[in-house]
Symmetry: C2
């Protein structure tokens, strides 16, 4: 099954051309929107945190899902940018001294190193607010029902029952031994919630039945978990230049990881297994064209940074 | 004019009974909603930051404005809580060591003192997300158009062109001499934006024409500025027990204040002048019942803490 779906992904569909086209749109929109109209001392920090960096996995998931369901184009582009702003703000705050105290991100000094803690804190706060602003343009641009639903999806994924909640569990777990179930729960909130929200946001830009939505949910869940497992693997096997951040950091901080829990080989096998689950979910979805979603799953598991 | 409107406020309308009834609803809703479903280590911090404290001026403004325009009740209650969550998160982050480094708030240890910086940061982030979650319940509870508009109003007021932007300007202004125009601009963002948003949110829960909206906008603008002027006055004349926070702090930090700029008497006169402006705007609004809004303006200028 994975070999077959992989072939399908590689031969029938030029993922790289698709991604390049989508990314050009996203980068342009982010450049046009992020921190524009902010006071000088704040706007530049917001733009530093968001522009020229990141794989834009979440925006691509939004756009791939929106394309699969025939969703509203302007709504999808705004949702793609909004979820990236939430992701970017979370990195800014996570890197701060009171959290992970990291100095390197995407090969650049982290925001608080470059601009100081106060401006890092404020820029993160402002980016979260701007995410919801992007989702709610005037009604002639995006139907109000889509705006409201996207805000709800993103707020739930970003908040205490999603990403921020996962961060809190992560914080409380340093130096403690977690079971696989606890580790899975923590990551399903910390990184999984926003990845799942990306797929949900894309789906919310169109009309889908409950069965399709459930299949997309399974896809997103498997992909979110695979992402974290691969992250843990790369933290062990990659070097700083490839990774663009400090490797070996999680292990050094005595943070629980899938590699620590399962060993390297079993963690790698788990990632492959989750890829199969994601592909199967897409086949169950009943959607005609899931090639971009399929390719994104392969990319998440096959990435080297 | 102010004497007359004050009489009107005091004799025809039992503001204290009205406020007590509204506040009971708000407190109940906040108790039911804030941090519920959050991981244990995060939910308690969110609740500490929000419950049992604060004058709830912003929620009262939302509810008073919604009542004046005959707005949707459930939408107004949710907006009232949402704006309070944004206010509460901003206090948590502002009090942190990298910002104002304050240890006392509403007579209690500030959040980072009680729970540590990391959890203070996360709880603030989660409160902001929850504000937008509260604004976007399922469609059968609040019409989607109101949900979308409220999200937009709150996002703009909280973000880089509102509260966070004002904070950034404040941060950059420490130790510098500002003109009255610059000081007014800074405060109109830092505290004014959220107070104005409160009135806008209430108005968005109903249907109002452009003239009424413009009058409400003038009311909110005068009230927001009056609030800050009175804050600066109280920082000089009140003691810690009455104020519930450290007095004289702004002056000690060499922060620009209206008292420093105008002197105590002229600052007090400015507050009275702004009260008159707010009352006149309400008379221009064409709304039948603005008694709660009127009483709130008197309360803001007459408060002792």
């Amino acid at each position: 099954m994975p070999a077959q779906t992989q072939q399908h992904a590689h031969h029938d569909f030029d993922f790289s051309a698709w991604a390049q086209q989508q990314l050009a749109q996203v980068e342009q929109a982010l450049t046009d929107w992020v921190g524009v109209g902010a006071p000088a001392g704040l706007g530049e920090v917001m733009r530093y945190a968001v522009l020229d960096g990141g794989k834009r996995l979440r925006p691509l998931l939004v756009l791939a899902a929106a394309q699969a369901v025939g969703g509203h184009g302007q709504a999808a582009l705004r949702a793609a940018c909004a979820v990236e702003l939430i992701h970017a703000y979370s990195l800014v705050h996570d890197d701060m001294p009171c959290m992970d105290n990291d100095v390197l991100r995407r090969g650049k000094p982290t925001v608080h190193v470059a601009f100081g803690e106060a401006r890092a804190l404020l820029a993160g706060d402002a980016l979260q607010a701007q995410a919801f602003e992007l989702l709610t343009p005037h009604e002639d641009q995006v139907p109000a029902a889509i705006q409201a639903q996207c805000c709800r999806i993103l707020a739930l994924a970003a908040g205490a029952q999603g990403m921020a909640g996962g961060q809190a569990i992560d914080l409380a777990s340093v130096g403690r031994q977690l079971t696989e179930a606890q580790l899975r729960q923590m990551h399903s909130l910390k990184t999984g919630a926003l990845l799942q929200a990306s797929v949900q946001l894309g789906a919310a830009c169109g009309q889908v039945d409950a069965q399709t939505l459930s299949a997309l949910h399974s896809y997103a869940q498997a992909l979110g978990l695979a992402f974290q497992v691969v992250d843990d693997v790369l933290d062990v096997v990659a070097d700083a230049a490839t990774l663009g951040k400090t490797p070996g950091k999680d292990a050094a901080c005595d943070k629980p990881t899938y590699v620590a829990l399962l060993g390297l080989e079993d963690a790698q096998a788990l990632a492959q297994d989750l890829l199969v689950q994601a592909c199967e979910a897409l086949q169950r979805s009943g959607l005609a064209d899931t090639r971009a979603l399929l390719a994104l799953a392969h990319q998440v598991v096959g990435r080297s940074h």
